[in-house]
């Protein structure tokens, strides 16, 4: 004999409670918080260091860095004089809202306008864990190939911004097969309103529009 019991309980409710707490805290403080998600090696940290430098007189930025091991990325952010807190996940493939909650306590949030969360390099798992962010930003670099929005649709469907990085490689004629128009069309098919900025964190190409967008988002919070 057996009986069925209806439960209806959220399985990751502990994460959601922390995400809600983070979201409320950030809303009270009127801070913009962007959760950056991409594969490893797409250039997230380089994008951040250049963004911080370009906006240093206009927006105060802090960074929460997520990596499996090391604080190399937080060191790179601190070299720009921006505050950074490193989270080591010790093997976990994504950041959790509880980890971000702890990191927010260590950042001088009151003195900041914008907090970036650089998630663990992974296009799949981080999309399953809300952190309390204002929006998600997905980064795709030219070297990864133009089929990624089609292959990993979830994160492109739910992101507010797509940064297409390393566009300087597009000029290496014959070396890279990357149809940027295909990427834009595939991403917009999933998410009509997505903002797309083709950039190169190495040369600075495209940073004007990207930084203008960030500035406007921060101003809209006031």
């Amino acid at each position: 004999m057996s009986k069925r019991v209806t439960i209806g309980k959220k399985i990751l409710s502990a994460n959601e409670e922390y995400a809600l707490k983070n979201r409320q805290f950030l809303a009270e403080q009127k801070k913009l918080c962007l959760n950056m998600i991409s594969s490893p090696g797409s250039g997230k940290t380089t994008i951040l260091t250049r963004t911080i430098s370009e906006l240093k007189d206009k927006i105060k930025i802090g960074v929460i860095e997520g990596d499996i091991q090391t604080d190399l990325d937080a060191e790179r952010i601190r070299a720009t004089a921006a505050p950074a807190v490193q989270i080591n996940t010790n093997g976990a493939c994504h950041l959790s809202a509880a980890q971000v909650s702890g990191a927010l306590e260590k950042l001088p949030v009151r003195n900041l306008d914008l907090i970036f969360i650089e998630n663990v390099g992974n296009l799949v798992c981080p999309s399953a864990f809300e952190l309390g962010e204002s929006s998600k930003i997905v980064v795709l670099s030219v070297a990864e190939g133009d089929d990624k929005p089609a292959k990993y649709p979830a994160i492109f469907a739910k992101s507010k911004v797509l940064l297409i990085n390393k566009i300087d490689l597009l000029e290496a004629v014959g070396q890279v097969d990357f149809d940027i128009e295909r990427v834009k069309a595939d991403a917009r098919k999933l998410n009509k309103g997505i903002e797309i900025f083709p950039i190169s964190a190495k040369t600075g190409a495209g940073f004007g529009d990207w930084c203008k967008w960030l500035k406007r988002e921060v101003e809209d919070l006031d």
Binding site: M1, S2, K3, R4, V5, T6, I7, G8, K9, K10, I11, L12, A14, E16, A92, C93, H94, N122, V124, C125, S127, A128, F129, P153, A154, A157, K158, K189, L190, N191, K192
Partner: protein, 114 residues
């Protein structure tokens, strides 16, 4: 890869319910949305591994995937969003908004009774 964490959370929830009912759980049904990025095989393997030696050993997991819902901005129709064919099912418009994804839910447990 994050399925291990989901499996741990699930094991705790099912074990708690089993203790409350004082019965052995034999199967459980969960449901999830697209953004939960759950691979059934990986989740079942992780659950089987961590359930060994607990009241949940041998439990059969059933996973239901719920499609993401879209709302057409042209004709207001609600429809199941299909990744490979993301258009409104009624009017064919590509202009739509995505509604919040279904959460990861423990729906039902089957318990063995005397």
């Amino acid at each position: 890869m994050h399925e291990t964490m989901v499996a741990e959370s699930l094991l705790a929830a099912i074990s708690a319910e089993a203790a409350k009912q004082n019965a052995k759980p034999v199967s459980a049904k969960i449901s999830c949305g697209m953004l939960n990025a759950i691979n059934d095989e990986v989740l079942c393997f992780a659950f089987e591994a961590i359930a060994q030696g607990t009241v949940c050993e041998g439990l059969k997991l059933e996973v239901e995937h719920k499609p993401m819902q879209g709302r057409c901005k042209k004709c207001d129709e609600f429809f199941d969003f299909e990744v490979n064919h993301p258009i409104c099912k009624k009017c064919g418009s590509e202009d739509f908004e995505l509604l919040p994804d279904a959460p990861l839910l423990l729906e039902e447990i089957e318990l063995e009774t005397e």
